[in-house]
């Protein structure tokens, strides 16, 4: 109660939907058990979740009898909503960033919403050992680029190891035995690129510290040239930017952890990490999180030893694990992907749902805001018509910051209108095109114009 009061005082003046009560549903909080009850939302935050919740005057009441409410799903690895994915021409592309190319018009945002996703970690691709900067986004469909940003989330950067990185430099871009045109072409080279980059970053860091020291001594100095490539790496060294590293093979996972230890930083998450189960011990010891697929395997050589028990095994060994999609399609049903970790490895319901809610929230450092239904957290919620771990379930409504961003009923109602509107516009344009084709070439210029001579 005190905590709720404190939060009420601290609430930003955000236009975040009317006070709402989701009533009489099975509430899956993920962190505080499951019960039949209600959730009270005000000013974009969860105020209360319990078996008996008083409905304030004037609150919008959503009757969710027989339905299931869970925290909005968080996808730790996505490439939607961005106009660029890879800057693959150079081995180190840390100067680029998703924040510069956010695409708020991407229909996949809405489609993800319709699958219960409320937050996504949108990453640079896996074309280089050190890739570009990432952005954590909320699926606030309809807002502009700035409106999608998850304010306050720690910035991130993408690393990648293994086959994708090696083949990026190859002629024709495909897999094969031809030597790469862009270094590196082997896993040895991958390590080298990362070590070299951080060695440079250290030197750059020193340059700026020396400059700052001069300034502090009131000496004349001009600042060093800003290097956009090295700045994010210095941030990594200083613990101000999370590293999300795409990796597959056990040996390359260990390689990266060693490099990180040598340079004194932590890998925040290992992504895909399909052989993570082989070195779960080391991953847990380092403190890296692991974000993996539920059951993809055998599409690449390095994925041949992938097993659907990966997530469960790593969980048992004390690793913070999440399930991700890396796919606009899979993103739509992460709830059922989570069920696979029950089938393969015996996780229980709460552990399974944690893989797509509180765990990715922790990995992204946003667990104080999202990932479970607790008072004080953002009202990012999904209402399912059946238990979310059932393949027969579908999403009914999705709230972000207490605002209703997806409503299946409304979506269905609007379809005929949308179709009609499109047809009308299409017909109108067709008419215009027909008229255009019948007209003479352009106004005022008929054949046989004579040069010179005023009329």
């Amino acid at each position: 109660m005190k905590r709720a009061a404190l939060f009420l005082l601290a609430l930003p003046l955000v236009a975040a939907g009317p006070t709402t009560v989701i009533r009489n549903a099975t509430v899956i909080t993920v962190t505080k058990g499951t019960f039949v009850g209600s959730v009270l939302i005000r000013d974009g935050k969860i105020v209360e979740a319990g078996e008996k919740v008083l409905v304030p005057d004037g609150a919008r009441v959503i009757d969710a009898t027989g339905k299931f409410v869970m925290p909005g799903i968080i996808d730790c690895h996505s490439h939607i909503a961005a106009d660029s994915i890879n800057e693959g021409a150079v081995a180190v592309s840390s100067m680029v960033g998703i924040e510069d190319v956010v695409n708020p018009d991407d229909p996949d945002i809405y489609r993800a919403l319709a699958g219960g996703v409320t937050t996504a970690n949108v990453l640079h691709g896996s074309a280089n050992p050190i890739g570009g900067k990432c952005e954590v986004m909320k699926m606030r469909w309809g807002k502009d680029a700035a409106g999608l940003k998850f304010e306050g989330a720690m910035p991130g950067i993408k690393f990648a190891l293994g086959e994708n990185v090696k083949r990026s430099g190859s002629p024709g871009g495909g897999f094969g035995n031809s030597p790469g045109l862009r270094y590196p072409a082997s896993r040895m080279g991958v390590e080298d690129v990362i070590r070299e980059a951080f060695t440079e970053a250290r030197a750059y860091q020193k340059e700026w510290r020396d400059y700052q020291a001069k300034v502090d001594r009131h000496e004349q100095a001009i600042p060093p040239r800003r290097d956009l490539k090295l700045e994010p790496l210095v941030e990594v060294l200083e613990g101000k930017r999370y590293v999300h590293a795409h990796c597959y093979r056990a040996d390359e996972i260990l390689m990266l952890l060693r490099v990180a230890d040598d340079f004194g930083f932590k890998v925040r998450t290992l992504q895909h990490v399909l052989e993570g189960y082989k070195v779960a011990k080391e991953i847990a010891a380092h403190g890296a999180g692991a974000s993996t697929f539920s059951d993809w395997w055998a599409y690449k050589a390095e994925a041949y030893d992938a097993i659907p028990y990966n997530a469960a095994l790593m969980v048992r060994k004390g690793v913070l694990v999440s399930l991700n999609s890396d796919s606009a399609e899979l993103m739509r049903h992460l709830n059922t992907e989570a069920a696979k970790a029950m089938k393969y490895g015996g996780l229980n319901e709460t552990e399974a749902l944690s893989l797509v809610t509180i765990n990715p929230a922790k990995q992204l450092g946003i667990e104080n805001r999202v990932g479970s239904i607790e008072p004080g957290k953002d009202a990012d919620l999904a209402i399912f018509d059946k238990h979310p771990l059932s393949n027969y379930a579908k999403v009914d409504k999705v709230f972000i910051d207490g605002e209703l961003y997806f409503d299946r009923e409304k979506d269905l109602e609007e379809r005929p209108g949308k179709e009609a509107r499109k047809k009308a516009l299409s017909d109108k344009l067709k008419q215009q095109e027909k008229k255009e084709r019948k007209r003479p070439e352009s106004p005022g210029e008929k054949k046989g114009d004579e040069p010179g001579g005023a009329q």
Partner: protein, 423 residues
């Protein structure tokens, strides 16, 4: 001597010779109502009896399955199983060969029965699959095979089960290869020309095959066997179906017209826009092998749940269909076939129909309706024992029988799991 024989029987693997009685479970025949506490008798690899009470025959092995369920083994109607091990490694990939018209190429000749994908897939209750070749216009012969056996002779149920082809369509140049650079002024015109040429070539090829068939009937001294054209004869006789891949409404309609004209028995593969042509499909009795339910809408303005709701729409229109994974290389894993079916249930497909579309209907579509697809007397004993609904992920598959033989559910994934559990 008796002891020796008893030991032999005890040690012998559960062979087809010994009758097996499975009882105490809920039996889901699919072709009829569920039997709440039923039994299934398996003899010589086939289902000998199904019912509420079956007396134990002499020498039968009895397996008590109280609290569990027995379903027919599931059938995946489109896979590359056995032809592709690791998708990105070309050397491990035998899905397609060069050329446009290659009906003589047989998937059954290239399937690797030792593929790791097979044990992994059957562990989730898929007991038989269609493996099809790809590429070109006429890709080759598909095989219907059980997921158990040392050799193709052990595995094949029908080889060939169909000849697979892709109907020509206009292919606009994309960003990555596939024609000229985008932005060329005459992009569509040129693409259309190519498509028209392909249609001509296809019809010429059918014509050649027909004439070959006629020549073969009364062979002259100059008659030479042509394996390519030979392969088409069963299709022209209507004995072998032609599995035609077509996605868009226009292409589907053209494929139907083509099949009509050529008097072949057509099965539509994928048919993303089949829902637009449902009436025609029903009128011609053309079944559809659906694309994966779990995929993105094909057009930007499509409703978000379009791929989920199409199976329901086709069901209401009376079109027969089966689900397929199209994996393991390009799309989803075949082991997830039941979840492709389940995904359609929330959006309009009755749950019994979803189950039928991975059991009875594919069996009927592929012409083996008398042998597979349900728990009925006389059919192969392809059975799965589960602790619940096999279309739900959380359900465990406890036992799998293929042709009456209990199949080892161990596979690469489980082995690695066990190995690293103790590290």
């Amino acid at each position: 001597m008796r002891i020796f024989l008893t030991l032999l029987l005890a040690l012998a693997p559960l062979s087809a010779a010994e009758p097996i009685l499975l009882r105490g479970a809920v039996v889901h025949p699919v072709s009829g109502p569920d039997i709440p506490e039923g039994a299934v008798l398996v003899r010589d690899g086939k289902i000998a009896e199904v019912g509420a009470h079956i007396s134990v025959p002499k020498g039968a092995r009895v397996i008590e399955l109280k609290g569990l369920h027995i379903y027919p083994g599931m059938i995946d109607s489109a896979t590359e199983l056995g032809l592709s091990e690791i998708g990105a490694v070309r050397e491990m990939n035998d899905i397609s060969d060069l050329g446009l018209f290659k009906p003589q190429l047989r998937a059954s000749a290239a399937v690797n029965p030792a593929s790791e994908h097979i044990p992994v897939t059957r562990a989730n209750g898929i007991t038989s699959v269609i493996t099809s070749p790809g590429g070109g216009i006429i890709a080759g012969q598909s095989v219907l095979m059980h997921l158990n056996g040392w050799t193709m002779e052990d595995m094949a149920v029908r080889a060939p089960v169909a000849i697979r082809m892709e109907y020509p369509h206009v292919q606009m140049p994309g960003r990555f290869g596939g024609g000229e650079a985008p932005g060329r002024v005459s992009a569509y015109t040129e693409a259309k020309k190519r498509y028209e040429q392909q249609v001509r070539e296809l019809n010429d090829f059918m014509e050649s095959a027909r004439r070959y068939g006629q020549a073969k009937a009364t062979p002259g001294p100059d008659f030479e066997t042509d394996l390519r054209l030979e392969a088409m004869l069963p299709v022209l006789d209507g004995k072998l179906p032609l599995l035609i891949r077509a996605e868009k409404e226009k292409t589907i309609k053209e494929a139907i017209a083509f099949a009509d004209k050529q008097k072949v028995h057509m099965i539509l593969e994928r048919g993303a826009e089949a829902w637009k042509v449902a009436a025609e499909l029903k009128a011609h009795d053309i079944p559809v092998i659906l694309p994966p339910t779990l995929r993105l809408p094909d057009e930007e303005d499509d409703p978000y749940d379009k791929p989920f709701s199409v199976p329901g729409e086709l069901y209401k229109a009376g079109v027969k269909f089966a689900f397929a994974s199209f994996g393991p290389g390009s799309e989803d894993n075949p082991r997830n076939l039941p979840y492709q079916a389940a995904a359609a249930v929330g959006f309009g497909l009755p749950v019994e129909e979803a189950l039928k579309a991975v059991t009875l209907y594919p069996a009927q579509i592929w012409g083996v309706g008398g042998e597979l697809g349900s728990i009925e007397k006389g059919k192969w004993a392809d059975l799965i024992v589960t602790d619940g609904d096999p279309l739900e992920t959380r359900t465990e598959i406890k036992q799998v029988f293929i042709k009456g033989q209990s199949v080892d559910l161990e596979n690469k994934h489980h082995r690695l799991y066990e190995k690293y559990l103790t590290r």
